[in-house]
């Protein structure tokens, strides 16, 4: 039975991701793990996250799982969710925190007093359902309508240096990268485990992805 490992670096609330994956991939074993060996043995790896960046990076370093995460990032289908996407970049403005630095770029806070076209101040966190434009095709987008809405809850967003990395954007009010893809890696800012049918479809796609484009 193929194994999907959800990395537990000590910040909690991984159950929602696990429950959603178990729901869409009943023929696979979904494990929440604190073990480097289990991450190495897994067929697919999920790096989740939804807490504050400084505490999460500190917890990740304490967990001793960094090397295993980085190996999985290079070697097998790898899925980052929310903070698990932001961690892939070099650093975050949230607490001026160094992140994993696997892709060049920074995580930035939404500017204060952003306004939409009708002049209303945009609220931060960017919280709720927003349409995601698929900027390129990807196996994880298969069967998901371009422009489908996903659930977001974040105050910081990824600004990768390489535009090629971006696989999806959402407008708030300007387009921000909300999906990154490169080789065997797919990462999203939204919460697919909380995005009803569209989110479950992305998770199902990842659960059956071989990591090739």
């Amino acid at each position: 039975m193929p194994v999907i490992a959800i990395v537990d670096y000590g910040m909690g609330n991984l159950r929602s991701v696990a429950k959603a994956l178990a729901h869409v991939a009943p023929a696979q074993r979904v494990v929440i793990t604190t073990s480097a060996a289990e991450i190495e043995a897994a067929d697919r790896v999920v790096l989740p996250g939804q807490a504050a960046m400084p505490e999460s990076m500190a917890a990740l370093e304490r967990s001793g799982l960094r090397a295993a995460i980085e190996r999985a990032f290079r070697e097998k289908p790898f899925f980052g969710v929310c903070l698990g996407m932001q961690m892939l970049l070099e650093r975050s403005e949230e607490g001026a925190t160094p992140a994993l630095g696997l892709y060049p770029g920074r995580v930035r806070r939404f500017a204060r007093e952003l306004r939409d076209r009708s002049g209303h101040v945009l609220k931060v966190p960017h919280m709720g359902w927003n349409a995601v434009r698929q900027t390129r095709t990807h196996p994880c987008w298969q069967g998901v309508a371009d422009g489908a809405a996903f659930y977001f809850a974040h105050s910081y967003y990824c600004a990768p240096e390489e535009a090629d990395l971006v696989a999806g954007t959402a407008d708030y009010p300007n387009p921000i990268p909300v999906a990154l893809a490169c080789a065997n890696v797919f990462a999203v800012q939204f919460h697919p485990e909380k995005s009803a049918e569209a989110g479950l479809r992305v998770l199902a796609n990842f659960a059956h992805w071989d990591g090739r484009l």
Binding site: A51, E55, W129, Y151, A196
Partner: protein
Amino acid sequence: MLARRIIPCLDIKDGRVVKGVNFVGLRDAGDPVEVARRYNEQGADELCFLDITASVERRGLLFDLIERVSAEVFIPLTVGGGVKTADDLRPLLNAGADKVSINTAGVNDPSIFDQAAHFYGSQCVVAAIDAKQTRPGFFEVFIHGGRTPTGKDAIAWAREVEARGAGEILLTSMDRDGAKTGYDLALTRAVADAVSIPVIASGGVGTLDHLVEGITMGGADAVLAASIFHYDQHTIGEAKAALAAAGVPVRMTG
């Protein structure tokens, strides 16, 4: 474009959904998992559970309920009621809650917002504010389920919880709760304009027009309602159609 959200609210007592007027005269409104499933199928954007269970012994029922709902309903879940310290957030989040609302405990010790935002991130910290107009132009914060006045100005309190790290405000008008005469639009607008975090309007919905007004006139980012959905007066789909017809961006499903 970010959609405005429709959030059915389930008041939970001893593991059941209940609904009353002005927090008294509670009536049974069903099994929480069944109700949650129905709302999810109708296209609810999020669900809110407010636990009003009085006894500590029966609080465990809430965790079991969140576990069961989150295993089959894949939309955001906000849970509140009975949170006393920042440590109380973790078991709720671990059970499957995405956001936790803090009310009385935040008034008693506002630093709970700072701590909760620091450890879990602002995105999961909701400040629940129950407000009542106690003299012209003054909205006063009430705690203990609306029983205890605090002397605090609701608008100033909203600014303070934002500064302390709350990521969202759930604003309930005590005057309107259960009255079905519409949101308190003056209160909603005043708070929505005072903060730059999302505001959920609550208390008083009796018609679909009230939902529309909460957004177009009250400036709310999301609208919460209970009884119009619980007793099948309207579906979530009808509510979304009403919002869309008024030019409000909504997430259409099905």
